[in-house]
Symmetry: D2
């Protein structure tokens, strides 16, 4: 039996590189040889034990690689073909998938998120892709691995914040938190035609990148009150869409406080503990507010579209990849990333 | 100066009938002689001091009557014409109105709700209608006052719960609370094509009416657990849309607990105190849930459509008018309605 | 090799019952033993050579039956289980399917319509269902075959006319032609909340059924001018949505002539020859009109929802099944149906 | 009685500068002193007698100026304030306006287009604006007249082609014709997040500008076949959205021929004569195609948003203003513009 290296969740506090068997391919699967992958904030939640997964599970949900094998029912692909797969791998055939709820595949919450959650993930030499026909997207040869590395999760999630907010040409938008996902939400707001984009964070380096991606006004909440700045800048009107990209009571609440009546709070964050709606900002439920949550859209059509955006040069996310590691050094990568040292945004991991 | 009788908010606990001057008509106004009006749950909040309005204000926002006078810039109507006016009276000309946010007219939360809130209301012999061109709807002669009395608020609000939930043919829907608005939400769910409608309340009489309006399964929460019943009936799937029609933590939370991933919580209630999102039912923000709030849609086009529904006989809301009072006896009507005695749903008040 | 009876297209003018091999099941397929099926207007186009298919093809796309075999990759079903399959059988996994364009599966026009078009259909003792996981829907035991026989095509198509028209509560709607699909469009308009539904045809028997399904006004175009009647009834306003359910220049054009500015023409018909837009009724392209075409929505989630509608008793389509035949007599059934004799609407065929 | 200069339609072939009385202001009107205006292709249709208007009517519907007087019911503005008004001036208060159909104000096709159509227009020293409260938009002082001159019609119309097409991030779009409106449609497609934009015209100068505004591929139809180029570039898939920006059978038909199944033809052109749907490209009505027409969105909220876009620098339309004339020389301007000499795109006219 052939083996491979894989980053495995052992117990809270411990993800380590282990030898595991290379997976066997079923009729609708594909086996991908990973060429580049990365670590997500969610992986850190797993590492810290804040999001429980089964011990022994391979972690990681952002794969770039080549096709090593396909199942008997998989057609239209070639061995060796370079492909990307979304973090969410819908089956396409269950009721929620047929109803465009791909992220909720199977009908249970987050059911579409399989890699590194309910099945082995891609921080490894190989990953087995379920429902390959719905999930393998060829990468144009003009694009490098690093250029497309944000597509499976960060870019898809960040953009969806703008999309689910139904941002329109001429809108005012606020994006709370400018980590990798918030930065992509900022870029998405720009791509959707917002003309005024407020980007809020406490790290100036991130705010600088947000400007390059489309923010028209940056606010460091350590030195300025975002609510006051935004309400002043909009002449008391508030923003049309507020995007939450962190997952805290404070950012969620700030979103509502800068939102105009009839506006949309588009929420991307993963919340823990308690989440309370401030009834004054929520107009006691009479403000025609909408609160919309979105889990990273996946599937090969979504990936195809995101690759198009990268290929068109509409958005340049290269500045997000700040560090590079070999798979052998992934524990060091986790250490850097989990502690957010050295201005890290995203790391590229190559086997 | 001519005077009229009007139900006036004096102080918390006190609404009384007073003599007030008949209003003067400005260029874009109309004066309506009230023939029938009613009391809303919101008026009771005002009476109790839970929703603050200015002392001296005439209360009431559900007018049926005839045109007594129009301003110089008002055309297309005749004196004596029988009309209805929505509880929400948008100007049609401000930025939010031009952006279809009529309930948020003027750009501040609930700005479209003027009658008995920011200007004198219609529990009186006359009411002055602002922006008459946008708000006067002729009533077909075949319809009685009582047949259309639910249109200005109850029916418009209730239906909007179904509309904002984007109910589709074949959907499963739960409606929490079957007061007048919840009953209209149930009727709205039926009208939008839901095939499975769970109606929840603690009063059997209301549950009976909900069946006549379209509920396929009624649940008295005093004797059954709505969450268990609904999850069993939907084979663990949950409902596509849950409508909140009361304004409490409990009903809001129950809505989330029976909602499928990707479903919509359509909220109509007026909340007070604190409102907390249960993160387990909310899938920590990753369930693709939508929470949508709606304030009663108004304006003459909305009223025209609702009159069409009544005229078509699609919905029979006559059972909702359970009691009748003269305007002179409105204080008795408040006493009955505020204390929810005698199976009261809605009262008809005639000057 | 086992054989079965199947209605096969031989050449224009000739569909005949032949013996064919029972199909072999691939890994993602299911084999269904047909218990009831029916003939569609499209099958008559095929018979007449107006819509070309490959000689030797088994015709029919409306199957009700039981599972006789499933492929190795098909899970969650049982042999002998009673199921329905839509006329459109999307794969769920190609780009169009993942983008909710199931009827255009594969990316070529009508690609989702496979049965009796690009693969063998279901006027036979057995039919092979591709992508079984996306297409098999269990039938509740309380429903008979005939109760659900309209779901695969007639009901799905007819309802989609109302759905694609985005009919809203209180809308006025006209449905041109009251054949089986037009009748279902009328029922769909009612289900979506239209309050005024004009049904137009030349056969009084059909107009009678349309009344039972929701039409508020029927117009026999042989004795009345539908355009005049509708424009008068709507006080010159026109309808919000006009549904075309036949596929002729005349009905298409009439739809535009009764449509209000900003309204939607929802087209279901299959057109041949030429189709011209009358520029006066189309306001030279400046009337904010929408023209939307829809091919029968399929897939198991669609079928599940339609079964819900039938089970709820919201719509009773039993009057549509006017005649019954054994599969052995299918040539007689074609003769009756193609010549529209004896008031036929739909026939039930049982092997 | 004071008089002013105004460009008046006399008879087909003749628009001339005449002295007319300065209009009197009614209660809901505003009088605007024009500082800059322009000529539209529609005005040329009027000049040529192709679009009939009443002799004696002042032409022009794209006003920039200052408030000279307001009616008694107009509040919130100051005399001398610099404002822009859309080509479409909705009342905001009729049924279509309250239903977001502002361009069809009053309920008859194109009812919202009043200036230079049903009432005197703005190629004059003064223009009377009806329903001033719904139509006057203050111009930020940082913007010049020429920077905002495209907002009332060209930019609003062009952008709406992208908006009504519901362009999504990553879409492929084709824009047929690159006159001023087509160029703005190209810019709108870019603003909405399209990643592949094909711009088609026969004038290389216009194609150059289209590149600056967002086209990723330009096609001169005199030297290349747009259908072949687009189908090749999209690997036979076709575009998601095709925008028609001219109003001819040829461009309309080409749009359908490059459109993928399920795609949207967003039509902006004004058609004359006959318009035929090619049934092969239209998949006989079974391709899930949508055809959407849009008349220039107007009203002060639309203008506010477009001014935001200009102020944000998201789009630079200055290259569209190629020539400048005094109002006294407007007949020369018509001569140049109507004959499309000297590479003219748009002319600025100043009294």
């Amino acid at each position: 039996m052939k083996t491979m290296k894989a980053a495995v969740f052992v117990r809270p506090g411990k993800i380590e590189l282990q030898e595991k068997p290379i997976p066997t391919v079923g009729p609708t699967d594909a086996l991908i040889k990973i060429s580049t992958t990365t670590i997500c904030g969610t992986d850190v939640h797993i590492l810290k034990g804040e999001y429980p997964v089964r011990p022994g599970l391979t972690i990681g949900h952002e794969p770039v690689g080549t096709i090593a094998a396909v199942g008997s029912a998989v057609t239209g692909y070639e061995l060796g073909q370079r492909v990307i797969v979304g973090a969410i791998t819908p089956c396409g055939q269950c009721s929620p998938c047929l109803d465009s709820q791909h992220s909720q595949c199977g009908g249970h919450a987050m059911g579409g998120w399989k890699f590194g959650n309910s099945i082995d993930g891609c921080q490894a030499e190989y990953v087995l892709v379920p429902n390959a026909m719905a999930n393998l997207t060829p990468i144009p040869s003009i694009l490098t691995d690093e250029q497309v590395l944000m597509c499976p999760d960060i870019m898809s999630t960040g953009f969806s914040g703008a999309e689910s907010g139904h941002i329109r040409i001429g809108d005012s938008v606020a994006v709370f938190a400018q980590g990798p996902i918030g930065l992509c939400a900022t870029a998405g707001a720009k791509l959707k035609g917002a003309s005024e984009i407020f980007a809020i964070d406490s790290i100036n380096g991130r705010l600088e990148i947000s400007k390059a991606l489309g923010a028209t006004k940056t606010i460091n909440f350590k030195t300025e009150d975002p609510i006051k700045v935004i309400m002043d800048a909009t002449h008391g009107r508030g923003v049309d869409v507020a995007i939450e990209a962190l997952g805290t009571q404070s950012t969620f609440e700030s979103c509502l406080r800068v939102l105009r009546p009839g506006g949309t709070l588009s929420s991307l964050g993963v919340y823990s503990g308690k989440l309370t709606l401030p009834l004054d900002a929520f107009a006691a439920g009479l403000g025609d507010h909408k609160i919309v949550t979105t889990l990273c859209p996946g599937g090969k059509e979504r990936m195809r579209r995101l690759l198009n955006v990268v290929a068109a040069g509409s958005v340049d996310l290269k500045p997000l990849v700040t560090h590079r590691f070999k798979l052998d050094d992934i524990e060091k990568a986790y250490d850097l990333f989990a502690n957010q040292r050295d201005g890290v945004l995203k790391v590229a991991i190559t086997p």
